[in-house]
Protein backbone atom coordinates (compact mmCIF):
# COMPACT_ATOMS: atom_id res chain seq x y z
CA UNK A 1 0.00 0.00 0.00
CA UNK A 2 1.59 3.22 -1.12
CA UNK A 3 1.67 6.11 1.25
CA UNK A 4 0.33 9.44 0.01
CA UNK A 5 0.46 13.09 0.87
CA UNK A 6 -2.82 14.33 -0.49
CA UNK A 7 -2.85 12.68 -3.89
CA UNK A 8 0.95 12.67 -4.10
CA UNK A 9 2.49 9.20 -3.96
CA UNK A 10 5.35 8.90 -1.50
CA UNK A 11 8.32 6.60 -2.07
CA UNK A 12 9.21 3.91 0.49
CA UNK A 13 12.23 5.77 1.84
CA UNK A 14 9.97 8.57 3.06
CA UNK A 15 9.43 6.33 6.11
CA UNK A 16 13.16 5.85 6.72
CA UNK A 17 13.96 7.96 9.80
CA UNK A 18 17.52 8.91 8.76
CA UNK A 19 15.99 10.55 5.68
CA UNK A 20 14.85 13.32 8.05
CA UNK A 21 18.22 13.87 9.76
CA UNK A 22 20.85 15.81 7.86
CA UNK A 23 23.61 13.25 7.34
CA UNK A 24 27.14 14.33 8.17
CA UNK A 25 29.06 11.80 6.06
CA UNK A 26 29.76 13.37 2.69
CA UNK A 27 28.75 10.56 0.31
CA UNK A 28 25.63 9.76 2.29
CA UNK A 29 24.69 13.43 2.50
CA UNK A 30 25.08 13.91 -1.25
CA UNK A 31 22.72 11.04 -1.92
CA UNK A 32 20.28 12.37 0.65
CA UNK A 33 20.35 15.82 -0.95
CA UNK A 34 19.70 14.34 -4.40
CA UNK A 35 16.71 12.43 -3.09
CA UNK A 36 15.22 15.46 -1.38
CA UNK A 37 15.76 17.68 -4.44
CA UNK A 38 13.88 15.22 -6.64
CA UNK A 39 11.11 14.73 -4.14
CA UNK A 40 10.62 18.46 -3.62
CA UNK A 41 10.47 19.15 -7.35
CA UNK A 42 8.10 16.24 -8.00
CA UNK A 43 5.81 17.31 -5.19
CA UNK A 44 5.76 20.97 -6.24
CA UNK A 45 5.16 20.08 -9.86
CA UNK A 46 2.20 17.82 -9.18
CA UNK A 47 0.71 20.01 -6.46
CA UNK A 48 1.47 23.25 -8.32
CA UNK A 49 3.44 24.68 -5.44
CA UNK A 50 5.61 27.64 -6.42
CA UNK A 51 6.65 29.03 -3.08
CA UNK A 52 7.99 27.41 0.08
CA UNK A 53 8.02 29.52 3.23
CA UNK A 54 10.36 28.13 5.86
CA UNK A 55 8.43 29.74 8.68
CA UNK A 56 5.38 27.72 7.78
CA UNK A 57 4.72 24.02 7.82
CA UNK A 58 5.41 22.38 4.49
CA UNK A 59 3.73 18.97 4.41
CA UNK A 60 6.58 17.24 2.59
CA UNK A 61 9.06 18.15 5.34
CA UNK A 62 7.28 16.14 8.04
CA UNK A 63 6.26 12.53 8.30
CA UNK A 64 3.77 11.98 11.14
CA UNK A 65 3.83 8.21 10.54
CA UNK A 66 7.41 7.96 11.81
CA UNK A 67 7.20 11.18 13.85
CA UNK A 68 10.08 12.86 12.11
CA UNK A 69 10.46 16.34 10.75
CA UNK A 70 13.30 18.13 8.96
CA UNK A 71 14.94 20.75 11.15
CA UNK A 72 15.62 24.25 9.84
CA UNK A 73 19.18 23.52 8.90
CA UNK A 74 18.14 20.52 6.81
CA UNK A 75 15.37 22.45 5.04
CA UNK A 76 17.72 25.25 4.17
CA UNK A 77 20.36 22.80 2.98
CA UNK A 78 18.05 20.99 0.60
CA UNK A 79 16.46 24.15 -0.77
CA UNK A 80 19.87 25.76 -1.20
CA UNK A 81 20.89 22.72 -3.22
CA UNK A 82 17.94 23.39 -5.51
CA UNK A 83 18.95 27.03 -5.76
CA UNK A 84 22.50 26.06 -6.73
CA UNK A 85 21.10 23.95 -9.51
CA UNK A 86 18.94 26.77 -10.79
CA UNK A 87 15.72 24.97 -9.83
CA UNK A 88 14.80 27.46 -7.10
CA UNK A 89 15.54 31.01 -5.97
CA UNK A 90 15.72 32.65 -2.58
CA UNK A 91 13.42 35.67 -2.52
CA UNK A 92 14.97 37.15 0.62
CA UNK A 93 18.41 37.48 2.17
CA UNK A 94 17.35 35.60 5.26
CA UNK A 95 16.57 32.51 3.19
CA UNK A 96 13.08 32.18 4.54
CA UNK A 97 11.21 32.32 1.21
CA UNK A 98 12.04 30.04 -1.69
CA UNK A 99 10.60 30.22 -5.19
CA UNK A 100 10.47 26.74 -6.69
CA UNK A 101 11.22 26.45 -10.39
CA UNK A 102 10.02 22.98 -11.18
CA UNK A 103 10.04 24.37 -14.66
CA UNK A 104 13.02 26.60 -15.25
CA UNK A 105 12.23 30.16 -16.39
CA UNK A 106 13.36 29.20 -19.91
CA UNK A 107 10.96 26.27 -19.86
CA UNK A 108 8.09 28.53 -18.86
CA UNK A 109 8.99 30.91 -21.65
CA UNK A 110 8.78 28.01 -24.13
CA UNK A 111 5.43 26.94 -22.68
CA UNK A 112 4.09 30.49 -23.16
CA UNK A 113 5.26 30.49 -26.79
CA UNK A 114 3.57 27.15 -27.31
CA UNK A 115 0.41 28.46 -25.75
CA UNK A 116 0.44 31.51 -28.01
CA UNK A 117 0.88 29.38 -31.12
CA UNK A 118 -1.72 26.81 -30.10
CA UNK A 119 -4.34 29.50 -29.60
CA UNK A 120 -3.49 31.71 -32.55
CA UNK A 121 -2.56 34.63 -30.34
CA UNK A 122 0.45 35.66 -32.40
CA UNK A 123 -0.43 39.33 -32.72
CA UNK A 124 -2.88 39.81 -29.90
CA UNK A 125 -2.79 41.45 -26.54
CA UNK A 126 -3.61 39.89 -23.19
CA UNK A 127 -3.20 40.98 -19.62
CA UNK A 128 -0.88 39.06 -17.39
CA UNK A 129 -3.82 37.96 -15.25
CA UNK A 130 -5.64 36.71 -18.30
CA UNK A 131 -2.67 34.56 -19.23
CA UNK A 132 -2.59 33.20 -15.71
CA UNK A 133 -6.26 32.78 -14.92
CA UNK A 134 -8.21 33.32 -18.14
CA UNK A 135 -10.31 30.79 -20.02
CA UNK A 136 -7.71 30.25 -22.73
CA UNK A 137 -5.12 28.93 -20.33
CA UNK A 138 -7.44 26.45 -18.63
CA UNK A 139 -6.13 22.94 -18.96
CA UNK A 140 -2.61 24.17 -19.62
CA UNK A 141 0.28 24.42 -17.22
CA UNK A 142 0.00 28.21 -17.37
CA UNK A 143 -3.27 28.15 -15.54
CA UNK A 144 -2.85 29.13 -11.89
CA UNK A 145 0.86 29.65 -12.22
CA UNK A 146 2.74 31.98 -9.91
CA UNK A 147 2.69 35.59 -11.05
CA UNK A 148 6.33 36.27 -10.14
CA UNK A 149 7.47 33.37 -12.29
CA UNK A 150 5.17 34.36 -15.13
CA UNK A 151 6.58 37.90 -15.12
CA UNK A 152 10.13 36.56 -15.19
CA UNK A 153 9.33 34.33 -18.15
CA UNK A 154 7.63 37.21 -19.97
CA UNK A 155 10.61 39.48 -19.30
CA UNK A 156 12.88 36.81 -20.75
CA UNK A 157 10.69 36.71 -23.86
CA UNK A 158 10.65 40.50 -23.99
CA UNK A 159 14.43 40.44 -23.92
CA UNK A 160 14.30 38.18 -26.96
CA UNK A 161 11.85 40.45 -28.71
CA UNK A 162 8.97 37.99 -28.66
CA UNK A 163 6.66 40.05 -26.47
CA UNK A 164 6.21 43.62 -25.32
CA UNK A 165 5.06 44.36 -21.81
CA UNK A 166 3.22 47.61 -21.05
CA UNK A 167 1.11 49.18 -18.36
CA UNK A 168 -2.54 48.33 -18.80
CA UNK A 169 -5.69 50.37 -18.27
CA UNK A 170 -6.17 49.14 -14.72
CA UNK A 171 -3.64 50.29 -12.22
CA UNK A 172 -2.54 46.91 -11.03
CA UNK A 173 -2.24 44.85 -14.15
CA UNK A 174 0.07 44.79 -17.07
CA UNK A 175 -0.58 43.97 -20.66
CA UNK A 176 1.40 41.75 -22.99
CA UNK A 177 1.56 42.08 -26.76
CA UNK A 178 2.81 38.99 -28.50
CA UNK A 179 4.91 39.35 -31.60
CA UNK A 180 5.89 35.78 -31.99
Amino acid sequence: MMQKLGDFKLPAFFNYPPYFTLQPVRDTREKQIQLWKELILDYCRTQKVFLILLEEEFPLFSNPVIERSLNNEARETFLSALVSEGRAEWLDKGHRKCLILWHRIQDWADIILGFVKDNGLEDSVMTVEEIRLGIESRGTELHGMDRTILMRALKLLEHKGKVAIFKGTSADDEGVKFSV
Partner: protein, 433 residues
Protein backbone atom coordinates in the same frame (compact mmCIF):
# COMPACT_ATOMS: atom_id res chain seq x y z
CA UNK B 1 38.15 33.60 42.35
CA UNK B 2 35.06 35.03 44.01
CA UNK B 3 33.30 32.33 45.91
CA UNK B 4 29.81 31.52 44.76
CA UNK B 5 27.54 28.60 45.33
CA UNK B 6 25.92 28.62 41.94
CA UNK B 7 28.05 25.92 40.31
CA UNK B 8 28.77 22.40 41.48
CA UNK B 9 32.30 22.07 42.86
CA UNK B 10 34.62 19.78 40.92
CA UNK B 11 37.74 18.02 42.19
CA UNK B 12 41.10 18.25 40.52
CA UNK B 13 44.25 16.26 41.13
CA UNK B 14 47.43 17.85 42.41
CA UNK B 15 48.55 18.26 38.82
CA UNK B 16 45.40 20.14 37.92
CA UNK B 17 43.61 17.34 36.05
CA UNK B 18 39.91 16.92 36.72
CA UNK B 19 38.84 13.88 38.70
CA UNK B 20 36.32 11.99 36.64
CA UNK B 21 33.50 9.84 37.94
CA UNK B 22 33.26 6.19 36.82
CA UNK B 23 32.31 5.91 33.14
CA UNK B 24 32.98 9.60 32.58
CA UNK B 25 35.12 10.38 29.56
CA UNK B 26 36.46 13.70 28.34
CA UNK B 27 35.20 14.65 24.87
CA UNK B 28 36.36 18.13 24.01
CA UNK B 29 38.11 21.17 25.34
CA UNK B 30 38.09 24.91 24.80
CA UNK B 31 40.97 26.85 26.26
CA UNK B 32 40.35 30.38 27.41
CA UNK B 33 36.64 30.98 27.81
CA UNK B 34 34.59 33.23 30.04
CA UNK B 35 31.32 32.08 31.54
CA UNK B 36 28.64 34.76 31.95
CA UNK B 37 24.95 34.95 32.60
CA UNK B 38 22.14 37.00 31.09
CA UNK B 39 21.66 40.29 32.89
CA UNK B 40 17.95 39.89 33.41
CA UNK B 41 18.01 36.47 35.03
CA UNK B 42 16.66 36.31 38.55
CA UNK B 43 19.45 34.02 39.67
CA UNK B 44 23.02 35.01 38.97
CA UNK B 45 26.64 34.19 39.55
CA UNK B 46 29.85 36.18 39.32
CA UNK B 47 31.32 35.68 35.85
CA UNK B 48 34.11 33.15 35.51
CA UNK B 49 37.04 34.54 33.56
CA UNK B 50 39.76 32.92 31.49
CA UNK B 51 39.54 29.25 32.10
CA UNK B 52 39.63 25.92 30.38
CA UNK B 53 36.22 24.58 29.48
CA UNK B 54 36.10 20.80 29.32
CA UNK B 55 33.23 18.76 27.96
CA UNK B 56 32.81 15.25 29.31
CA UNK B 57 30.11 12.67 28.78
CA UNK B 58 28.62 13.77 32.10
CA UNK B 59 29.55 17.38 32.80
CA UNK B 60 30.94 20.67 31.68
CA UNK B 61 34.01 21.60 33.74
CA UNK B 62 35.56 25.03 34.15
CA UNK B 63 39.16 25.12 35.34
CA UNK B 64 40.40 28.58 36.14
CA UNK B 65 43.78 29.40 34.56
CA UNK B 66 44.76 31.66 37.41
CA UNK B 67 43.80 29.36 40.23
CA UNK B 68 44.42 25.83 39.04
CA UNK B 69 43.23 24.14 42.18
CA UNK B 70 39.67 25.37 41.85
CA UNK B 71 37.24 23.99 39.38
CA UNK B 72 33.51 24.00 38.98
CA UNK B 73 31.15 21.80 37.07
CA UNK B 74 27.80 21.99 35.33
CA UNK B 75 26.18 18.55 35.15
CA UNK B 76 24.79 17.98 31.65
CA UNK B 77 21.64 16.67 33.30
CA UNK B 78 20.61 20.16 34.39
CA UNK B 79 20.75 21.57 30.87
CA UNK B 80 17.24 22.23 29.61
CA UNK B 81 18.05 23.83 26.29
CA UNK B 82 21.02 24.50 24.07
CA UNK B 83 20.60 27.51 21.83
CA UNK B 84 21.63 26.99 18.24
CA UNK B 85 24.42 29.28 17.26
CA UNK B 86 23.38 31.73 14.59
CA UNK B 87 26.01 33.72 12.84
CA UNK B 88 25.15 37.37 12.82
CA UNK B 89 26.90 40.54 11.73
CA UNK B 90 27.70 41.16 15.37
CA UNK B 91 29.63 37.92 15.63
CA UNK B 92 32.20 39.19 13.15
CA UNK B 93 33.34 41.85 15.60
CA UNK B 94 33.04 40.06 18.91
CA UNK B 95 34.36 36.86 20.36
CA UNK B 96 32.13 33.96 19.37
CA UNK B 97 29.78 32.78 22.03
CA UNK B 98 27.15 30.14 22.57
CA UNK B 99 24.42 29.84 25.15
CA UNK B 100 22.55 27.17 26.96
CA UNK B 101 19.89 27.08 29.62
CA UNK B 102 20.03 25.28 32.95
CA UNK B 103 17.74 24.72 35.90
CA UNK B 104 18.63 26.43 39.16
CA UNK B 105 17.05 26.28 42.57
CA UNK B 106 15.42 29.32 44.18
CA UNK B 107 18.45 29.72 46.44
CA UNK B 108 20.74 30.26 43.48
CA UNK B 109 22.37 26.88 42.95
CA UNK B 110 22.61 24.54 40.02
CA UNK B 111 20.74 21.34 40.70
CA UNK B 112 22.96 18.39 41.42
CA UNK B 113 20.23 15.79 41.37
CA UNK B 114 17.01 14.79 39.70
CA UNK B 115 15.09 17.99 38.90
CA UNK B 116 11.80 16.17 39.27
CA UNK B 117 11.90 16.39 43.05
CA UNK B 118 12.54 20.09 43.44
CA UNK B 119 9.97 22.85 42.98
CA UNK B 120 10.34 26.53 42.28
CA UNK B 121 13.10 25.99 39.72
CA UNK B 122 14.30 28.83 37.62
CA UNK B 123 15.88 28.96 34.24
CA UNK B 124 19.26 30.53 33.91
CA UNK B 125 20.89 31.23 30.58
CA UNK B 126 24.62 30.65 30.62
CA UNK B 127 26.76 32.24 27.96
CA UNK B 128 30.15 30.82 27.04
CA UNK B 129 32.39 33.49 25.49
CA UNK B 130 35.15 31.88 23.46
CA UNK B 131 38.26 33.99 23.85
CA UNK B 132 40.71 31.45 22.53
CA UNK B 133 41.04 30.04 19.04
CA UNK B 134 39.42 26.66 19.63
CA UNK B 135 36.85 25.11 17.33
CA UNK B 136 33.82 26.13 19.40
CA UNK B 137 31.36 24.89 16.82
CA UNK B 138 32.80 21.41 17.12
CA UNK B 139 32.67 21.77 20.89
CA UNK B 140 29.03 22.80 20.70
CA UNK B 141 28.08 19.91 18.43
CA UNK B 142 29.89 17.49 20.76
CA UNK B 143 28.03 19.11 23.63
CA UNK B 144 24.74 18.34 21.87
CA UNK B 145 25.82 14.74 21.43
CA UNK B 146 26.90 14.32 25.04
CA UNK B 147 23.74 16.01 26.29
CA UNK B 148 21.62 13.75 24.12
CA UNK B 149 23.76 10.76 24.97
CA UNK B 150 22.69 11.02 28.63
CA UNK B 151 25.65 8.92 29.69
CA UNK B 152 24.99 9.76 33.35
CA UNK B 153 21.84 7.67 33.22
CA UNK B 154 23.63 4.49 32.15
CA UNK B 155 26.26 4.82 34.85
CA UNK B 156 25.55 2.39 37.70
CA UNK B 157 25.76 4.37 40.90
CA UNK B 158 28.61 3.40 43.17
CA UNK B 159 27.62 2.42 46.66
CA UNK B 160 29.38 4.20 49.44
CA UNK B 161 31.78 7.11 49.29
CA UNK B 162 34.83 4.91 49.87
CA UNK B 163 34.29 2.71 46.87
CA UNK B 164 33.43 5.71 44.74
CA UNK B 165 36.77 7.36 45.29
CA UNK B 166 38.57 4.05 45.25
CA UNK B 167 37.25 2.99 41.89
CA UNK B 168 38.16 6.29 40.35
CA UNK B 169 41.83 5.87 40.98
CA UNK B 170 44.29 3.08 40.54
CA UNK B 171 46.25 4.48 43.42
CA UNK B 172 45.45 4.19 47.07
CA UNK B 173 45.84 7.29 49.16
CA UNK B 174 49.44 6.41 50.00
CA UNK B 175 50.38 6.47 46.34
CA UNK B 176 50.88 2.76 45.88
CA UNK B 177 49.20 0.88 43.09
CA UNK B 178 46.38 -1.13 44.53
CA UNK B 179 46.63 -4.70 43.42
CA UNK B 180 44.00 -7.09 42.40
CA UNK B 181 43.42 -10.79 42.17
CA UNK B 182 44.16 -12.61 38.99
CA UNK B 183 41.43 -15.21 38.66
CA UNK B 184 38.77 -12.93 37.27
CA UNK B 185 41.02 -11.21 34.80
CA UNK B 186 42.45 -14.41 33.41
CA UNK B 187 38.97 -15.65 32.72
CA UNK B 188 37.93 -12.30 31.28
CA UNK B 189 38.02 -12.25 27.50
CA UNK B 190 40.48 -10.05 25.67
CA UNK B 191 37.58 -8.48 23.79
CA UNK B 192 37.35 -5.85 26.51
CA UNK B 193 40.42 -4.15 25.18
CA UNK B 194 40.54 -2.07 22.00
CA UNK B 195 43.81 -1.56 20.16
CA UNK B 196 45.82 0.00 17.41
CA UNK B 197 49.31 -0.39 15.96
CA UNK B 198 51.53 1.82 17.98
CA UNK B 199 54.88 1.06 19.42
CA UNK B 200 55.01 0.13 23.06
CA UNK B 201 57.45 2.92 23.60
CA UNK B 202 54.74 5.41 22.69
CA UNK B 203 52.20 3.55 24.79
CA UNK B 204 54.52 3.84 27.74
CA UNK B 205 54.87 7.59 27.25
CA UNK B 206 51.15 8.00 26.87
CA UNK B 207 50.33 6.15 30.05
CA UNK B 208 49.02 9.26 31.69
CA UNK B 209 46.29 9.54 29.10
CA UNK B 210 45.77 5.80 29.19
CA UNK B 211 45.29 5.83 32.90
CA UNK B 212 42.67 8.51 32.67
CA UNK B 213 40.67 6.71 30.03
CA UNK B 214 40.94 3.07 31.02
CA UNK B 215 37.87 3.03 33.21
CA UNK B 216 37.10 -0.57 32.35
CA UNK B 217 40.49 -1.54 33.62
CA UNK B 218 39.69 0.26 36.82
CA UNK B 219 36.46 -1.62 37.28
CA UNK B 220 38.27 -4.86 36.57
CA UNK B 221 40.99 -3.84 38.97
CA UNK B 222 38.47 -3.26 41.70
CA UNK B 223 36.75 -6.57 41.10
CA UNK B 224 39.98 -8.45 41.19
CA UNK B 225 41.16 -6.61 44.24
CA UNK B 226 38.04 -7.77 46.04
CA UNK B 227 38.65 -11.31 44.86
CA UNK B 228 42.20 -11.29 46.05
CA UNK B 229 41.26 -9.89 49.42
CA UNK B 230 38.44 -12.38 49.76
CA UNK B 231 40.75 -15.22 48.84
CA UNK B 232 43.30 -14.26 51.45
CA UNK B 233 40.82 -14.27 54.31
CA UNK B 234 39.32 -17.71 53.71
CA UNK B 235 41.83 -20.47 54.32
CA UNK B 236 39.99 -23.49 53.02
CA UNK B 237 37.93 -22.56 50.06
CA UNK B 238 38.02 -25.36 47.55
CA UNK B 239 36.37 -23.29 44.88
CA UNK B 240 39.27 -20.91 45.07
CA UNK B 241 42.04 -23.48 44.92
CA UNK B 242 42.91 -22.60 41.38
CA UNK B 243 42.75 -18.97 42.28
CA UNK B 244 44.96 -19.33 45.30
CA UNK B 245 47.63 -21.01 43.24
CA UNK B 246 47.58 -18.30 40.66
CA UNK B 247 47.43 -15.70 43.36
CA UNK B 248 50.78 -16.78 44.74
CA UNK B 249 52.35 -16.83 41.34
CA UNK B 250 50.81 -13.46 40.76
CA UNK B 251 52.39 -12.05 43.86
CA UNK B 252 55.70 -13.47 42.71
CA UNK B 253 55.73 -11.59 39.47
CA UNK B 254 54.36 -8.49 41.03
CA UNK B 255 57.17 -8.46 43.49
CA UNK B 256 59.68 -9.04 40.75
CA UNK B 257 58.56 -5.82 39.14
CA UNK B 258 58.18 -4.00 42.38
CA UNK B 259 54.44 -3.82 42.79
CA UNK B 260 52.73 -3.91 46.13
CA UNK B 261 49.97 -6.40 46.77
CA UNK B 262 47.17 -5.37 49.14
CA UNK B 263 47.18 -8.86 50.58
CA UNK B 264 50.76 -8.67 51.69
CA UNK B 265 50.30 -5.13 52.84
CA UNK B 266 47.40 -6.05 55.02
CA UNK B 267 48.78 -9.20 56.59
CA UNK B 268 51.26 -8.19 59.21
CA UNK B 269 54.52 -10.08 59.27
CA UNK B 270 54.30 -11.24 55.68
CA UNK B 271 57.73 -12.23 54.58
CA UNK B 272 57.35 -10.15 51.47
CA UNK B 273 57.35 -6.95 53.41
CA UNK B 274 61.08 -6.39 53.63
CA UNK B 275 61.60 -7.06 49.97
CA UNK B 276 58.74 -4.78 49.10
CA UNK B 277 59.87 -1.73 50.95
CA UNK B 278 63.25 -1.95 49.29
CA UNK B 279 61.90 -2.42 45.83
CA UNK B 280 58.96 -0.09 45.84
CA UNK B 281 61.01 2.92 46.77
CA UNK B 282 62.82 2.76 43.47
CA UNK B 283 59.98 2.06 41.11
CA UNK B 284 57.95 5.08 39.93
CA UNK B 285 54.17 4.64 39.77
CA UNK B 286 54.11 4.69 35.97
CA UNK B 287 56.47 1.76 35.77
CA UNK B 288 54.50 -0.05 38.41
CA UNK B 289 51.35 0.44 36.36
CA UNK B 290 53.01 -0.67 33.17
CA UNK B 291 54.58 -3.63 34.86
CA UNK B 292 51.18 -4.62 36.18
CA UNK B 293 49.93 -4.77 32.63
CA UNK B 294 52.94 -6.87 31.73
CA UNK B 295 52.41 -9.17 34.67
CA UNK B 296 48.83 -9.76 33.68
CA UNK B 297 49.95 -10.67 30.20
CA UNK B 298 48.02 -7.85 28.61
CA UNK B 299 51.09 -6.21 27.18
CA UNK B 300 53.71 -8.23 25.44
CA UNK B 301 57.07 -6.80 26.35
CA UNK B 302 59.24 -9.28 24.53
CA UNK B 303 59.90 -6.84 21.73
CA UNK B 304 60.62 -3.75 23.69
CA UNK B 305 61.10 -3.45 27.40
CA UNK B 306 62.23 -6.57 29.19
CA UNK B 307 62.27 -10.30 28.85
CA UNK B 308 59.45 -11.81 30.80
CA UNK B 309 59.87 -15.26 32.30
CA UNK B 310 57.56 -17.46 30.26
CA UNK B 311 57.17 -19.85 33.20
CA UNK B 312 55.31 -17.29 35.21
CA UNK B 313 53.03 -16.29 32.41
CA UNK B 314 49.50 -17.40 33.17
CA UNK B 315 47.73 -16.01 30.19
CA UNK B 316 48.67 -16.27 26.53
CA UNK B 317 50.49 -13.21 25.35
CA UNK B 318 48.18 -10.80 23.65
CA UNK B 319 49.67 -7.90 21.81
CA UNK B 320 47.81 -4.67 22.25
CA UNK B 321 47.57 -1.45 20.40
CA UNK B 322 46.80 2.08 21.49
CA UNK B 323 44.03 3.59 19.46
CA UNK B 324 42.94 7.17 19.26
CA UNK B 325 39.48 8.07 17.94
CA UNK B 326 38.59 11.32 16.21
CA UNK B 327 36.97 12.55 19.38
CA UNK B 328 40.27 12.20 21.21
CA UNK B 329 39.19 9.18 23.24
CA UNK B 330 42.09 6.75 23.58
CA UNK B 331 41.76 3.09 24.39
CA UNK B 332 43.88 -0.01 24.52
CA UNK B 333 42.68 -2.63 22.13
CA UNK B 334 43.80 -6.16 21.55
CA UNK B 335 44.97 -6.84 18.03
CA UNK B 336 42.47 -9.64 17.61
CA UNK B 337 39.73 -7.03 17.51
CA UNK B 338 39.85 -5.50 14.08
CA UNK B 339 37.47 -2.96 12.73
CA UNK B 340 36.09 -5.50 10.28
CA UNK B 341 35.02 -7.78 13.09
CA UNK B 342 33.23 -4.95 14.88
CA UNK B 343 31.54 -3.85 11.67
CA UNK B 344 30.40 -7.40 11.04
CA UNK B 345 28.79 -7.56 14.44
CA UNK B 346 27.23 -4.13 14.05
CA UNK B 347 25.87 -5.04 10.67
CA UNK B 348 24.33 -8.22 12.05
CA UNK B 349 22.77 -6.23 14.89
CA UNK B 350 21.39 -3.42 12.79
CA UNK B 351 19.76 -5.70 10.18
CA UNK B 352 17.64 -7.54 12.74
CA UNK B 353 13.93 -6.79 12.23
CA UNK B 354 13.63 -4.76 15.43
CA UNK B 355 16.67 -2.67 14.55
CA UNK B 356 15.45 -2.19 10.98
CA UNK B 357 12.27 -0.68 12.35
CA UNK B 358 13.63 1.37 15.24
CA UNK B 359 17.39 1.59 14.76
CA UNK B 360 19.91 1.07 17.56
CA UNK B 361 21.28 3.30 20.27
CA UNK B 362 24.79 3.35 21.71
CA UNK B 363 23.43 1.38 24.68
CA UNK B 364 22.03 -1.32 22.40
CA UNK B 365 25.36 -1.64 20.62
CA UNK B 366 27.20 -1.63 23.95
CA UNK B 367 25.18 -4.57 25.20
CA UNK B 368 25.70 -6.57 22.04
CA UNK B 369 29.39 -5.83 21.73
CA UNK B 370 30.01 -6.20 25.45
CA UNK B 371 31.69 -2.84 25.81
CA UNK B 372 30.97 0.51 27.45
CA UNK B 373 28.39 2.79 25.79
CA UNK B 374 30.97 5.50 25.14
CA UNK B 375 33.14 2.98 23.25
CA UNK B 376 30.13 1.64 21.39
CA UNK B 377 29.31 5.19 20.32
CA UNK B 378 32.80 5.56 18.87
CA UNK B 379 32.37 2.36 16.88
CA UNK B 380 28.95 3.46 15.64
CA UNK B 381 30.39 6.77 14.49
CA UNK B 382 33.26 5.02 12.77
CA UNK B 383 30.84 2.67 11.01
CA UNK B 384 28.77 5.70 9.99
CA UNK B 385 31.89 7.30 8.56
CA UNK B 386 32.51 4.18 6.51
CA UNK B 387 28.99 4.29 5.08
CA UNK B 388 27.62 1.27 6.93
CA UNK B 389 25.19 3.23 9.11
CA UNK B 390 23.12 6.42 9.06
CA UNK B 391 22.13 8.56 12.01
CA UNK B 392 18.64 9.49 13.17
CA UNK B 393 18.39 12.36 15.63
CA UNK B 394 15.01 13.01 17.18
CA UNK B 395 13.28 13.42 20.54
CA UNK B 396 13.73 9.62 20.80
CA UNK B 397 17.45 10.19 20.97
CA UNK B 398 20.52 9.55 18.83
CA UNK B 399 20.05 6.30 16.95
CA UNK B 400 21.65 4.52 13.99
CA UNK B 401 20.12 2.58 11.12
CA UNK B 402 21.61 0.49 8.35
CA UNK B 403 22.50 2.81 5.49
CA UNK B 404 19.79 2.50 2.84
CA UNK B 405 20.72 5.59 0.87
CA UNK B 406 23.18 3.62 -1.20
CA UNK B 407 20.38 1.24 -2.21
CA UNK B 408 17.96 3.85 -3.53
CA UNK B 409 17.97 4.52 -7.28
CA UNK B 410 17.78 8.19 -8.20
CA UNK B 411 16.21 7.59 -11.59
CA UNK B 412 13.34 5.63 -10.10
CA UNK B 413 12.45 6.70 -6.58
CA UNK B 414 9.75 4.07 -6.31
CA UNK B 415 11.90 1.11 -7.31
CA UNK B 416 12.50 -1.45 -4.59
CA UNK B 417 14.30 -4.53 -5.86
CA UNK B 418 13.00 -7.92 -4.72
CA UNK B 419 16.26 -8.75 -3.02
CA UNK B 420 18.66 -6.83 -0.83
CA UNK B 421 18.54 -4.83 2.36
CA UNK B 422 16.16 -2.14 1.04
CA UNK B 423 13.55 -4.76 0.29
CA UNK B 424 14.11 -6.39 3.69
CA UNK B 425 13.69 -3.03 5.36
CA UNK B 426 10.46 -2.28 3.48
CA UNK B 427 9.00 -5.59 4.61
CA UNK B 428 10.13 -5.13 8.20
CA UNK B 429 8.76 -1.61 8.51
CA UNK B 430 5.39 -2.43 6.99
CA UNK B 431 5.07 -5.37 9.35
CA UNK B 432 5.11 -3.07 12.39
CA UNK B 433 2.18 -1.11 11.00
Amino acid sequence: MASNNFFVPASVTSSGRPVLVPNEVECNLLSNVDIEHDQDDAVSFPPLKSGHFILTTHRLLFLSSSCSSTAVAIPLSVITHIFSSKRSLKSVFHSPRFRFQVSATPDNRILDSDPGRVTGLRSVVITVVVRGKGDWELFLSKMWECWRGRAWETTPSETGPASASASASLYASDGLVRMVGVGGLLRKEQEMWESTDRSLQEAFQDLNALMNKAKEMVMLAEKMRQKLLAGSSSQSNSANDEELGSKEEMQDWLLSVGIVSPVTKESAGALYHQQLSRQKANVPPKVQFFAWLVALGIINTREKIQRRNPKTCLSPSCPVMLRKFDSGVMVIQSKSHSDEEVFGRLRALVTKPEALRHGISASDAAMTLGIAPAMAKEHLLTAEGKGLLCRDISPDGFRFYINLFSEIILDDLFLVKDYGIYSTWVKASSASG
